[in-house]
Every structure is written in C-alpha cells, then in structure tokens.
Symmetry: C2
Subunit: 309 residues, 2 copies
C-alpha cells in the first residue's frame, strides 16, 4: 500500500519502519530539517529491540509532498495537527484514507474541517518509541492498535487498514467503539501526565502520594461528565484502577510521562489543551463544572510561560 | 507589662525586642534549642535597619515556663499552635490575655479550646522580619497591627494592649472588624503563597502570567463564599486589585512568598492547611464548592511528600 506517515517523530518512524519492512511503499513526512536530511542521506537508523538496522525510506517536508497516497497516518503533535492538515492539502486525494493516531481529544473535529468523514479513521495505539536523535529511532516493548471508521459506510476501508498494519506486526484490531478507547487513554494522560508535570515526579512517585487516589478520581469524574455528552460512558472506578495498575515500577512506574519530558525536561509546549484543556473547554461550553481540569490546565500553561522563554 | 512572646522566631523576636526596648518585662518562649541557647548566652542579636544591637532578653523552652504573664503574644507556625497551647498551660493565668498574630484562618477556634473567650485577642500584622540564624534577627521596613477582642466585654483590655504595642513603636490600632482583615490577608496568602510555591516563581513572575488575573479571582471567590458564612463579606474585585498592586517589583514583586521559602527552598512543611486548606475543609463541611482551594491544597501536600523525606 502507498502510505505517507505525516509527523514522523518517534512513533511515526516506528510505524514507517515496520510498514516499509513489510513491503509497503512508505514516505516519511516531517517538518524537522535535520531529521529529514539525516534520513535521506544515511537512511533511518533503527534500534529494533537492540538490533541496529538502517531503512532506506524517503523523507520530505510537508510542503514538498504532491503525490497522493492511499493512506495517511497522522502522528503530529496535537498542536501541530491543524497546520499540518493545511500543508498536506495536495496529498489528500478523493480516496485517501486518513488514520489519526494522535494522543488526546478533539482531533476528529479538526480532521473534519479538512477531510471528508468517509475518509477519516480514528485510532488509538499503545505502541511506544523514542528518538535517539534526528534520523535515529529506538524501538522496544510491545503494543497494539484499535481503529474505527467515522462514517459507517467506511467499515471495509478501516478493516483493510487493520490488515495492512497487522501484516507489518503492528497488531491492529477493528474496534466497534474506538471513541471509548480514545477517552479511556485520555484519562490516563489527563491524570498522570499533567500531575507528574506539575509536581515534577515520575509515575511511581505520584502513585505513592497519599492523595493520589482521590485526585485521579476527581479528574476522571470530570472526564466522564464530558465524555457522556460524546456518547461515551466511563466507569470512573474501573478507569482509576486501570491507572493504578501502572504505578508498579515493573509497568510504567519508573517512567516520566511525555508531558513531564516536554515541559520539565525539554522546556517545550505541552499537549495540555488536547487533554485536560479539552475537558475544561467543553465543560465551559456545555455548562458542566470541570474545575480540576481547568486549574490543571491553567497551572501547566503557567509553567510553560515560566519555563519557555 | 509582663509579656511572653510564644513562638519567638523572626516575627516573635522583632516584637520581643521592640517591647523590651520600650521597658516591658519580656520573655521569649521557643522550642528551637540553638535559638534559645544563643539568646541566653549572648543576648538576642538584632540588625535593626542596619544598626546592630544586642538585647538581653531571657529565652526559655515552652515546658519550662511557669510564671504567669499579663500578656502572651502568639507567633508560632500555624501547625504548632495546638501543641504550644498544651505546653504553656501553666502560663495561662485567669487574667492572662492571649493575642494571636499568626497568619492563616481558624486559629480562634483552636484558641477557644484552651483559653476563655474573654482573654482572647485576635490580630493581624503587616510587620515583617527575618532570621539570620539562631539568636539573630534582622529588621527592616515598616508595619502596623490591628487588634480586636473576641468577647465584647474585653474591649478595654484590647485597647490597653494596643497602647502597649504602640508605645513600643509597633503601631497597633483597635479594629472594629479584625476578622475582615484576617480574611483579607488570608486571600493574599491563599493566592500568592500557594501558587508561587507550586509554580516555583516569585510574585512578579506570577503577576506576569497571562492567567494570573482569572486564577486569583477564582481562588478569592471561594474564600468569599466561605468568609460569608463567618459573617465577612469580601469584595472579590477589590481584594484582587489589592493583590495585583503588590506584583510591582518596587512593592513585594521580587519576593518569594513564605510558602515558597518553606517548601521549595527549605523543604519544610507549609501552612497550607490554615490557608487554602481551611477554605477547602470548611467548603466540604458546609457543602460549598471550593475545588480550586481543594486542588491547590492537594498539590502543596503532594509537593511536601515529594520534597520532605
């Protein structure tokens, strides 16, 4: 399949590499000059669970893409999605399916401004990846993907994309309710990412706080009040216990969530507006109280202003 | 007048020194061994606006005080008040007036467990002071005090204490509504102290944040909802503008609030439970929503757990 990975950071590089290895015609699209240049000059260097290999995959800037692929997989940062969709207009053919695997909430609304609903596939993935530097991706661990079409008549297309991903080892499953899984994952990010970023701690340390249990439940309650208006019923206790299961250092406990990495370690803007900020914004629009998510969003924005000069 | 300063840290040392200089019979009562020892061996060293002087004032531990003074001035940390009142039982004579000048809310409730209402005087002060080390206090700047009796029939006693303090240069005024001033000062601490501690910034930096204005107003609104049940009507906008006036670096702007000093700089427990935590607790008791104060309290407690080993 002719596939463009749009937003080819760590996760995009993983997906591009695995799909390329499985015989697909892949192009990596990204706006980071050094990354694109390194990939084109020396290939994408992949540390594939300890084994180093080089993949000859073409890379290019968004504004240079004029070929129309069958599938676009979006892996931009949330705040870069809108601009990226504007930049890749020429790639969006009449039949080009667009699979959105970004973290966070509200992306299908943005996508619908640029892509017809029948071409939009929403997904959520538990794969991870890291960038060692420009052009150098590190893969470890296991993952999976859930995918669903936005328009009911595009089910066949969604299932075909699942097959292509699964043949590449990416374990994609067709989901009857991907929006539930997206909300559920957003709860994990909305509790651990923002809290660990504000408190400057890792997941294990957060889990050991005496008020961790009540704090995550209050945050999730507000997520649940908003998700309900989106047709998604979240069981607060079930979600909370799912989060508590990853405090274990043998799970993700020793890990600093991505928002901590962005904000505290690298002084970069965070995705807060697409996680807690989305819940706060919807709460205000709908007249539903979401004070915890409001204050967490305010505090993360405040830290961004203080740390990013 | 025979006066015991109970809790003789920076502020207690200032008051003790000024009252002693004015001819009162003062004793400093404190639980910090090195501080008490230094004061007794070499006197209290006072840097009085740049002029160093030594004051021969006796100092002792709470459990060693058996003489009954006419006036006790309380300057403990909020969380040490209850224990201190238990320790100084022998000092509380039938006519001993107890003036509480602690920061924060809820102290009159604690006092009433140990002191008859007619002996309790509540106050609020804008004086400041710093400790250079044990037995060494630094005084600068100007200040004043407001004082009021809790029991209506003790007005004369309150006014007499005002006179004694004013004769010592401490500018005390009798107040018809000291509880209003206590709440108003608590709003300053409840916005700037907790926010600067969590965000690790000074007052000027906090004031420059784009969401500072809306954040302090949301916090003050919750203070006002609780103060109203205490008979105190706070004008949210007036209080907010009073706080905004001190963002100026020529005012307190370059200053890190005491909670930042305690938590971030010295890894000590904070007075959060007597500021935002008091509002949150009363809100829960009374069924009044105080989510901002709840979450701020939770986050400061979390930082305490993370930083204090």
């Amino acid at each position: 399949m002719k596939i463009a990975i749009v937003g080819a950071g760590a996760m995009g590089s993983r997906f591009g590499y695995m799909l390329h290895k499985a015989g697909n015609d892949v192009v990596l699209v990204d706006g980071w000059p050094q990354h694109v240049e390194n990939i084109n000059q020396q290939g994408l260097i992949v540390d594939d669970n300890g084994v180093e290999t080089v993949a000859k995959i073409p890379a290019m800037f968004p504004e240079d893409c004029h070929e129309v692929p069958e599938l676009i997989i979006l892996f931009t940062k949330s705040m870069g999605l809108k601009k990226m969709l504007q930049d890749i207009q020429p790639m969006l053919g009449q039949n080009t399916k667009v699979l959105c695997l970004l973290n966070g909430l509200g992306h299908s609304e943005t996508l619908k401004e640029y892509v017809p609903a029948e071409n939009i596939l929403m997904g959520v993935t538990l794969w991870t990846a890291g960038l060692q530097g420009p052009g150098h991706v590190v893969l470890s661990g296991d993952g999976n993907i859930e995918i669903q079409n936005v328009d009911p008549k595009s089910q066949a297309a969604a299932k075909e994309v699942c097959d292509v991903l699964t043949q590449a080892g990416l374990k994609a499953q067709y989901s009857e309710n991907v929006i539930f899984s997206i909300w559920r994952k957003a709860c994990v990010n909305g509790t651990l990412n923002s809290s660990c970023a504000i408190l400057d701690c890792n997941i294990k340390e957060f889990g050991e706080l005496s008020e961790a249990g009540s704090l995550i439940r209050k945050i999730i309650q507000e997520f649940a009040a908003i998700s309900k208006t989106d047709g998604v019923i979240l069981d607060v206790e079930e979600v909370a216990q799912g989060i508590e299961a990853i405090y274990d250092p043998d799970q993700a406990g020793a890990h600093y969530p991505s928002m901590h990495q962005d904000l505290v370690q690298n002084h970069r803007l965070t995705e807060i507006d697409y996680i807690n900020g989305y819940v706060a914004r919807k709460g205000q629009e709908l007249g539903i109280a979401t004070p915890y998510n409001q204050l967490l969003t305010t505090l993360v924005h405040a830290k961004e202003e203080l740390l990013i000069k």
